[in-house]
């Protein structure tokens, strides 16, 4: 769905605020590789390369409600490592009309070029896009963004997704289904009464509410977006845990199939999962192939941290779908989260998100 790019003005201060801490350095040490990079990937030298492009809140200057369906996406190119200073940098991607490059601008400090180029465009929430940079006529993938995908034609493109995105980008269907089962047993939402409540949350979202909060209420399930949160965090901030998930979901799938022949692991009853958790907590799981993954307890703790976060996180991160996690807390306890949170998600009249 290509549309003309809507460029947003951001001042140089904004851009440098998103660069200095992460990019400026003398050190060439790969201190930021926690297992997520191929050997030699230069991204391992910079801090939190997953932050690029910068996905931020959009505000049209007038209406928080009208602005809510969009993000402000800032592309950043750092020319300091180039053999010659480029004369032109642009970005082309599926978020705008193809063949319509959007030019990046030089960012200055004290009136001099800083080496950083940037442009900010408006992109709807909940979308996945691919793009490339054009540097003096040469097409390159984004040297900062670790998200690189190979398209059907075999070519590599950079990728980003906007807030509240429900489109899977990391895990396949089978992995997501099993993960949904595992996560929902960690959380209280599968208990019968809570399950009814959560279903009620989604059913009570009428069409208008869905459009207002689009695309933050989507999955009608008992894991309230936890799987989607994990799918997204594994694509960006905690990509170094992707192998943990891949390996362990495969192991657990095999193990449960062996224990319960003829039954689909994602449909097993609670006791089956509870037994597995008890074993994982002690690091002694019957049938676990330690040669393929050393510590089931490590994975259980990782999954618990992600499940807790995904259930109650701000929905911009892809979890807490439809704010069902917060609604659950509010139903049981005094917890007026709406007063602090931006509209239309919450009811704050001052905070814009």
């Amino acid at each position: 769905m290509a549309v003309p790019a809507v460029e947003i003005q951001k001042d140089d201060q904004y851009v440098l605020n998103h660069c200095t801490r992460f990019l400026a350095r003398d050190s060439d040490d790969a201190r930021h590789d926690f297992g997520q990079y191929e050997p030699g990937d230069p991204r391992a030298r910079v801090c939190e390369a997953w932050r690029y492009p910068v996905i931020d809140t959009y505000f049209d200057g007038t209406s928080v409600q009208a602005s809510y369906p969009f993000n402000a996406v800032t592309f950043i190119y750092d020319d300091r490592g180039a053999a010659a200073t480029p004369q032109e940098v642009a970005v082309v991607g599926t978020f705008t009309e193809l063949h319509e490059p959007v030019a990046l601008h030089r960012v200055s400090f004290l009136g001099e070029p800083s080496g950083v180029w940037s442009v900010t465009v408006r992109v709807p929430k909940g979308q996945v896009h691919t793009y490339k940079l054009r540097v003096d006529g040469a097409w390159v993938i984004d040297p900062l963004n670790p998200q690189v995908v190979e398209l059907d034609n075999g070519r590599s493109w950079s990728r980003f997704f906007t807030e509240g995105c429900q489109i899977p980008v990391t895990l396949n269907r089978r992995e997501r289904e099993l993960l949904g089962r595992l996560a929902s047993h960690l959380l209280p939402f599968r208990l019968p009464e809570n399950s009814r409540f959560i279903r009620g949350v989604y059913e009570s979202l009428d069409r208008a509410a869905r459009e207002r909060q689009f695309p933050l209420a989507y999955r009608l399930d008992e894991e309230v977006g936890v799987v989607n949160y994990i799918d997204k965090v594994l694509a960006r901030a905690e990509r170094h845990h992707l192998d943990d998930y891949r390996s362990c979901l495969e192991l657990i799938d095999e193990l449960l199939r062996a224990r319960y022949p003829g039954r689909e692991p994602s449909m097993l009853p609670r006791d089956a999962i509870a037994d597995l958790y008890r074993e994982m907590a002690t690091d002694r799981v019957a049938g676990w192939d330690a040669a393929r993954y050393g510590s089931p307890r490590f994975f259980l703790l990782l999954l618990r941290r992600h499940a807790m976060t995904g259930a109650f996180v701000h929905p911009r991160h892809g979890g807490n779908s439809g704010t069902a996690g917060w609604a659950y807390l509010q139903d049981r306890y005094p917890f007026a989260w709406q007063t602090a949170i931006e509209a239309p998600l919450g009811e704050s009249t001052d905070y814009r998100g």
Binding site: D11, L110, R270, H314, D350
Partner: protein, 590 residues
């Protein structure tokens, strides 16, 4: 030239700018604006739990005992792999830590702090006098407490007008009556309604005869003329629990950026350069002549210095002076080390408290950081009765564990190096166990803390680490410290007082436990103080009474590094008041 824009740097900048002096301020961190300041109407601070404690990262600093472990930092705290603080643990091994950093952002630590803005007591500033000739001090077999106690070279009466001025320009809410800290002027704004969970704390304090007051907090509750800030029509919406460890998108928390720097940002004689990291100072004789820094993308730059004020927070200020000395051993180095005390007498606070579960659940998401405080244990007679050298403030915490993710990640985790570990280690919090956990804790946990003086010890110190380097190749700060046996005694007594408050809090209050940071050497509550203490004797101090380095004409240190004792309360307001005092002294010299 002022290095650092937090509680130490900003107040004196205002004094100088208002007097017409040219001021250039360099700040390592970004300039994150409020909604009303930002050209696009949006703040870089968000009400989002992942901003306070972000994604998991792994420590990869070579040589550290905790290499490979997880760490979590906020969006304005340094990345440990780029700029670690290293401390020597009790097992003698070095570990990198997130503790001991304030925020790296314009406004410094005042952007993320809870805003507790207590004064020190008059006795806090004269602990040598207070303890002279005493033989009743607990657990001090070698007489070190009395020997190492120092009176500040300024008295409370001399500092008091600056406290009042700081309270005026920063913008606080709270109440004065029942404080043991005399005030000459009243600038507190009215406090908001306390969170209902604080009822048990008020009841406990009353039952024990502890005179209480509303904790002074650096959050405005009314329009604030000195900074031009306004508050929402519904004052109660100011309470969000996104307080401690969160920047404020609306600028109601009175950090030094919104309260002091932003109002003068357009002054022609003031320039603030954010994202600029000072690497070292250069001197010629008794004058600092040049300040070397890295610009936002790392380019080397130099500015000529007239007068230089260092205010990077105590550990980083000491580190900057040590690095400058190491780069010029015979010049800058000889002068800055003239007393041999730079880096020594590093201090934090004796800190601890108690927690309980209350029977009546409250909405803790509508709160500021604290509701009630008492100076009961800061009174001279109480301190003497207990055989202690100094007292401390006690106050309750209301924003801790107020939001769902923070409840989990701070579960049984006493410091930021242990975020998430308590919750994850308790594998019973699953399914029905998860629901029990929420039932037992969500909106029901209340805690009371104390903040008290730590005994000054010469071997508690900041050095340059011999091998670990930051991302610029500079030696990182090496924190070597331990507790004195008297500190432990003091913490035990005060933790018990906090426990008593909760045990006397009323029917149905389930006491959970009490404790302190005693026995741990990493935890420093992010109150980093001392290391360049001021005094009247050049052989016994690094700075003169005006916080000028003794052997330099134009070099000042204005953050918490100047403190010879750490005071019985959170330090920020005292750092701000002292900064104003130093600013006044500078006016007479420029």
């Amino acid at each position: 030239m002022i290095i650092g824009s937090g509680a130490g740097g900003a107040p004196l900048a205002q004094t100088l700018v208002q007097a017409g002096h040219e001021v250039l301020m360099l700040e390592k961190g970004p300039l994150l604006r409020t909604q009303s300041q930002s050209p696009d109407g949006l703040s870089d601070f968000k009400r989002d739990e992942l901003f306070a404690t972000g994604a998991e990262k792994r420590l990869k600093v070579p040589g550290m005992a905790n290499i490979g472990e997880s760490f979590f930092s906020s969006h304005v705290e340094p990345d440990l792999n780029d700029e670690p603080h290293v401390y020597r643990d009790t097992d003698g091994r070095d570990r990198a830590t997130i503790e001991g950093y304030t925020a790296q952002v314009v406004g410094g630590g005042t952007q993320l702090y809870g805003g507790v803005s207590l004064r020190f007591t008059p006795d806090d500033l004269r602990l040598a006098t207070f303890n002279a000739g005493r033989t009743d001090l607990r657990d001090d077999p070698r007489g070190e407490v009395e020997r190492e106690a120092r009176d500040w070279p300024v008295s409370y009466d001399e500092l008091e007008p600056f406290y009042s001025e700081a309270e005026r320009i920063v913008g606080l809410n709270g109440t004065r009556s029942n404080q043991e800290k005399p005030a000459s002027a009243e600038h507190y704004q009215p406090p908001l309604e306390p969170n209902p969970i604080s009822k048990v704390v008020a009841a406990g304090m009353d039952a024990l005869g502890m005179r209480r007051y509303r904790t002074p907090l650096a959050v405005i509750t009314r329009d604030h003329a000195p900074s031009g800030r306004t508050v929402p029509a519904d004052h109660e919406t100011i309470k969000t629990a996104f307080v401690n460890r969160y920047g404020d998108a609306l600028g109601l928390k009175s950090n030094t950026w919104v309260s002091i720097l932003a109002p003068m940002a357009s002054s022609l004689n003031f320039e603030l350069r954010a994202n600029c990291n000072v690497t070292h100072l250069e001197s010629d004789g008794e004058r600092v002549t040049k300040v070397h820094y890295r610009d936002p993308m790392g380019g080397r730059r130099v500015v000529e210095a007239g007068t230089v004020v260092v205010a990077c927070s105590a550990i980083e200020s000491v580190r900057l002076l040590l690095l400058s000395g190491a780069a010029d051993l015979g010049g800058f180095g000889e002068r800055i080390h003239s007393s041999g005390l730079l880096g020594r007498y590093f201090l934090t606070h004796c800190f601890g408290g108690a927690s309980a579960i209350v029977p009546e659940r409250a909405d803790k998401s509508r709160t500021l950081d604290s509701d009630w405080a008492t100076d009961h244990c800061a009174r001279a007679e109480w301190v003497r009765e207990q055989g202690l050298w100094a007292g401390g403030a006690i106050y309750n915490n209301t924003s801790d564990a107020a939001l769902p993710i923070s409840l989990a990640r701070t579960w049984q985790a006493q410091d930021m190096d242990n975020i998430w570990k308590g919750y994850l280690g308790d594998t019973s919090i699953v399914g029905p166990g998860f629901e029990d956990y929420l039932d037992q804790n969500f909106g029901r946990r209340v805690s009371v803390s104390f903040m008290a003086n730590q005994v000054a010890q010469p071997d508690n110190r900041i050095e340059l680490h011999p091998t670990v380097r930051d991302k610029w190749g500079r030696a990182v700060a090496y924190v070597i410290k331990d507790w004195h046996s008297h500190d432990q005694a003091l913490m035990d007594v005060l933790a018990d007082q906090c426990g008593e408050i909760l045990r006397r809090g009323g029917e149905g209050v389930q006491f959970s436990g009490q404790g302190s940071v005693g026995g741990q050497v990493s935890r420093i509550a992010n109150h980093v103080l001392g290391g360049a203490r001021f005094g009247t004797d050049p052989k016994d101090s690094v700075l003169d009474p005006d916080c000028r380095a003794w052997e330099f004409q134009n070099l000042y240190v204005a953050d918490g590094a100047f403190m010879p004792t750490s005071g019985g309360a959170n330090p920020t307001l005292t750092i701000q008041a002292n900064s104003l005092r130093v600013g006044r002294a500078l006016l007479g010299r420029l």
